[in-house]
């Protein structure tokens, strides 16, 4: 097939993948996740296990070592057969703690230690780089083999690997770093991977069917040929069963499915819930079985038909090509391409998450020493950019490694090398899940021991540095190295854990992981509300302003409070930390929350007592806890209602007194001056002046009465709306002009985003204008900044309508009074400064409610900030 045609086919295929990923992301964003969340999509995405190494290499493996290739499928099959018993627990614990990667899991379990996570990340990077290089290599080899005409030896073809790496980096950045959602799921990527899984399987099965029924004479004939081949000394010297080596291979591949970064990503991080393991438990082994069914026939037939020098790793391509089946060969080529690309994309996402969460973000935080809650640093942007940078770096490393290593031989073994490297995390991972006594020092000791031995005995020899382990004759050096590294790793982990003593945070996390229940947190005590606002500010920088506000409001409501600021109960802090962990890793989230909320350390024995009691009676505790919090919630609601009623009654008295004062003051001037005017001895000038005062004060009386009337009409629900279409930009401009009469001597900087203001709204424009003038006028009146400025931002939410944020740069309103400002006569500052009777915001609130929207105070914005929310349409009025 000509190079150009092949390239075009690949590009079309890649474009299809982009399209599928884009469509899936769009569907997920619109909330249509039903089929995206299907357990079969999840199962198919697990097939990212079958990389190019398995797709091409399994046949080569079988050609060299007979049935041994099957161990690579047997390990995962055994693990998944027990999925409902074992994997479910892993997925549950990981989701409960919003774990983002295997490094994060280890860190979360062992006292949220970022150093531990950084070491696991290092292993992942070292193991993954050559593995990615291997995928690039397979794509380049298949291209070289398949393209009949070559444009030039060192031209476009020579750079295939670079183009592939670049394209995949682009794909990964586009679909892998779209957002920083707390649950870290990537619907687009997963759906594309699932589609590639289908292509892989279809291609391999089609080739198998062709080999068995097209080249051989059916299954019986095929089995006879395999039997002959097993006797042939030229073919597959290793048909002898080596129990020790097989055991090691099954163990390592079983470990790989748990610990490889890409497997953890699709299996744990992308899992919506643990229920899908029901289906995956049988469907994934079935997929693996189908993928392995035809490996041996293809290997045997390849050896029979193809010339002796042919590379068995490429039999799957050369066999159909030699038989003149070009279309089949193209399908197989796309299957191999799918296997390579899906592995690279998921691996890059997983490793980039680790690198950014455990290397870049902690480093940045340590360097910046950002004060929590303050400043305008956009942490969210930094994390996303760090992740993009990490993806580029990982791709570049893979490509560089591929260029530097050159030959195929050096790379072929990299799959197994990567498996054994990540397997070193397994003792700490399983120990952490199953054994309460496991602790951080033990995890350090085990992982570091395993890592060092793996580097010395397996990784460095595989890249040509250092020699194999010196072993007695008859012992397989690889098996010995695996056994030695895992055994010493486990021994160090258990030994140090037994003699070390865990710190309290660790002890509680250990309890939570082992019993898979919510831990009871006592390490941070609830403090006053004054810390809630900095926490909100911090969360806004990670999730963006709206998501953070929504979360805080929901939490406050769950506690039975109104407004945006929940109490800092241990329960809330724990939940907040977990959610943040989903975005920036548990160690970083822990450190950030501690910096804001502060920590009160209890004694170790206190904590152990708590932990033990919780463990013994966890059901009872949970039940009591639920009942108690329900009671507490009800009590709090009652108390809040009662407080409000008392306050309302006091306010009512104050209201009458206030109204008396507000009305008597202008009346006093009117009466005094009108009496003076009756005196004929006044000069014309005096007469004119006094008449002017009477006029002004009469106007003031009218305004107060108007406000009261307006409020009573709005409150009684009798207000008639005249609904029209209006442009928000015009309304804001009119409001600004009208409000500029308030304290005109002060120059006010107005910051608007004009293009976004041009939103059409359907509402009562005059009423909305009244609200805008009031809020802007208040800012002009009360903003106490030396250089007052006002920021106005408008946007249209998904639900339609509009959201208008009006924020000044003054000192804002105290948290305690934020819920009072919308009450009648609640003028906060000194009355002399205000022109009205303190009814403005109460009227605004009534108007917005009549219009079907709302007005609320936004805490944590720096100055006084109001959010006006307008629905798509005002509610239908009853006549």
């Amino acid at each position: 097939m000509p190079f150009e045609a092949l390239l075009a086919t690949c590009l079309c295929y890649v474009a299809l993948m982009f399209g599928v990923a884009y469509a899936a992301d769009r569907a997920a964003a619109a909330g249509h996740v039903r089929w995206l969340d299907h357990p079969l999509v999840y199962t198919l995405s697990l097939s990212v296990y079958c990389s190019a190494w398995t797709f091409y290499g399994a046949v080569g493996y079988a050609s060299r070592s007979g049935l041994e290739f099957a161990t690579i499928y047997l390990g995962p099959t055994i693990v998944f057969t027990g999925a409902w018993w074992g994997l479910r627990r892993l997925v549950r614990v990981a989701r409960m703690h919003h774990v983002t990667s295997v490094a994060d899991l280890i860190s979360a379990r062992f006292g949220k230690s970022n150093r531990l996570a950084a070491i696991v990340t290092l292993i992942a990077v070292i193991a993954s780089t050559p593995y990615i290089a291997l995928q690039l290599q397979s794509v380049r080899l298949s291209f070289e083999l398949f393209a009949t005409s070559r444009p030039s030896e060192n031209g476009a073809l020579g750079n295939t690997a670079m183009w592939v790496a670049g394209g995949l980096a682009l794909f990964t950045i586009l679909f892998g770093t779209r957002n920083l959602a707390a649950d870290e799921r990537h619907h687009g990527v997963v759906t594309a991977i699932a589609l590639e899984a289908v292509v892989k399987l279809a291609a391999f099965m089609a080739l198998g069917v062709f080999v068995v029924w097209g080249l051989a004479d059916g299954p019986v004939d095929m089995l006879r040929r395999i039997g002959d081949a097993a006797q042939d000394p030229r073919f597959a010297g290793g048909w002898v069963l080596q129990p020790d080596r097989w055991t090691a291979l099954i163990l390592v591949s079983g470990a790989a499915i748990l610990t490889l970064p890409r497997m953890f990503q699709v299996m744990v991080v992308e899992a919506a819930d643990e229920e899908r393991l029901h289906v995956a438990g049988w469907a994934f082994p079935a997929y693996l079985f189908a993928m392995s069914l035809f490996v041996l026939p293809i290997a045997v037939m390849g050896a029979e038909i193809l010339p002796p020098g042919a590379n068995p790793d490429l039999y799957v391509l050369t066999l159909p090509a030699a038989a003149g089946q070009d279309l089949l060969a193209l399908l197989v080529f796309l299957g191999g391409f799918s296997a390579a690309t899906s592995m690279v994309v998921v691996c890059a996402i997983a490793v980039a998450t680790m690198v950014s969460n455990h290397w870049l973000v902690p480093g940045w935080l340590a360097l910046r020493r950002i004060p929590a809650g303050e400043g305008t640093d956009d942490l969210r942007g930094f994390v996303l950019n760090a992740r993009r940078l990490a993806i580029l770096a990982i791709m570049a490393a893979g490509w560089t490694y591929h260029q530097a290593s050159g030959g195929a031989a050096a790379l072929a073994a990299m799959g197994l090398v990567a498996f054994t490297g990540m397997a070193q995390v397994l003792p700490a991972m399983l120990g952490g899940l199953l054994w309460r006594g496991a602790n951080r020092k033990g995890a350090y000791a085990g992982i570091c021991t395993g890592f060092a031995l793996w580097m010395a005995l397996i990784f460095l020899p595989s890249v040509g540095m250092g020699g194999d382990l010196p072993v007695p004759a008859g012992v397989d050096p690889w098996t010995a190295a695996v056994a030695l590294s895992l055994a010493l790793n486990t021994a160090a982990f258990i030994g140090v854990s037994i003699f070390g003593f865990p710190d309290p945070v660790e002890r509680l996390q250990g309890l939570s992981f082992v019993s898979a229940v919510e831990p009871i947190r006592h390490s941070r005590m609830a403090r006053g509300d004054d810390r809630a606002e900095p926490l909100l500010a911090m969360a806004r920088r990670v999730w963006g302003p709206d998501a953070a506000l929504r979360y805080f409001q929901a939490e406050a409501q769950a506690q039975g409070k109104s407004g945006f600021l929940p109490d800092l109960t241990p329960r809330f802090l724990t939940a907040l930390e977990r959610r943040l962990a989903g975005s920036i890793g548990s160690a970083t989230a822990h450190a950030m929350i501690d910096r804001v909320a502060g920590g009160v350390a209890l004694t170790v024995s206190d904590l152990l007592q708590v932990a033990d009691e919780a463990h013994r009676a966890k059901e009872e505790t949970q039940r009591l806890e639920a009942a108690r919090s329900e009671l507490a919630r009800t009590a709090r609601q009652l108390r809040e209602v009662n407080d409000k009623l008392t306050a309302l009654s006091v306010q009512k008295d104050a209201f009458l007194g206030q109204i008396s004062h507000e009305l008597r003051t202008p009346m006093t001037s009117v009466r005094a001056f009108s009496e003076i005017l009756k005196d004929s001895s006044l000069s014309d000038e005096e007469r004119k002046k006094f008449a002017g005062i009477i006029h002004d004060e009469a106007g003031r009386l009218t305004r107060i009465l108007d406000d009261l009337l307006d409020l009573s009409v709005l409150e009684s629900g009798r207000a008639q709306l005249s609904v029209t279409a209006a442009n928000l930009h015009d309304l804001i401009a009119r409001a600004l002009a009208a409000a500029s009469a308030t304290r005109p001597e002060r120059s006010f900087v107005i910051d608007r985003d004009l293009p976004s203001e041009h939103l059409g709204v359907i509402t009562d424009a005059d009423r909305l204008l009244q609200v805008l003038i009031n809020v802007i006028g208040n800012a002009r009146k009360y903003c106490d900044a030396p250089y007052p400025a006002l920021r106005i931002r408008v946007r249209r939410p998904d639900t339609g309508g509009a959201v208008i944020d009006i924020v000044d740069n003054g000192s804002g309103i105290d948290a305690g009074r934020q819920s009072l400002i919308f009450e009648k006569f609640s003028r906060l500052n000194d009355p002399a400064k205000a022109g009205g009777a303190g009814l403005g915001l109460a009227i605004c609130k009534e108007i917005m409610e009549t219009l079907g929207g709302s007005i609320s105070y936004l805490p944590g914005q720096g100055g006084a900030a109001f959010r006006i929310v307008l629905p798509a349409r005002p509610p239908v009025q009853q006549a």
Binding site: G657, H661, T668, S669, E675, I676, I693, D696
Partner: protein, 119 residues
């Protein structure tokens, strides 16, 4: 120069009316517009009468009156005070020599001032 009357009132129009009415009777009226510093203003200017508004920003007229009555200087503490109230409640103005509710009759004001200064 020592004024006859010191008025503490934050509403400029009411202050202007009172000052106009009383100045035509020959009284000299000084003005202080804030509750804060009210007692200091009285002790430095030593007026013969204080007209005090009950609702003042920062410090209410009742508080100023309380402070004045507790002043160590006996003659200062005994300064006559006419309290202006908008609320009609006289409770807060118990220690005042006279109370005048807003809105008031101009002649009533003049009468009260004459009586208090002579007393």
């Amino acid at each position: 120069m020592q004024p006859d009357i010191l008025m503490i009132e934050d509403e400029p129009n009411i202050a202007e009316a009172v000052r106009f009415i009383l100045s035509r009777d020959g009284w000299q009226v000084d003005l202080h517009v804030d509750g804060a510093g009210g007692v200091e203003a009285i002790s430095t200017r030593r007026p013969r009468l204080v007209i005090l508004d009950l609702m003042l920003p920062n410090r209410s007229g009742a508080e100023i009156l309380l402070d004045l009555r507790q002043a160590p200087d006996a003659s200062l503490a005994a300064t006559p005070v006419l309290m202006l109230t908008a609320r009609g409640d006289t409770e807060a103005a118990e220690q005042a020599d006279a109370v005048l509710a807003k809105p008031f009759d101009n002649d009533e004001l003049r009468r009260l001032v004459r009586r208090l200064i002579r007393a």
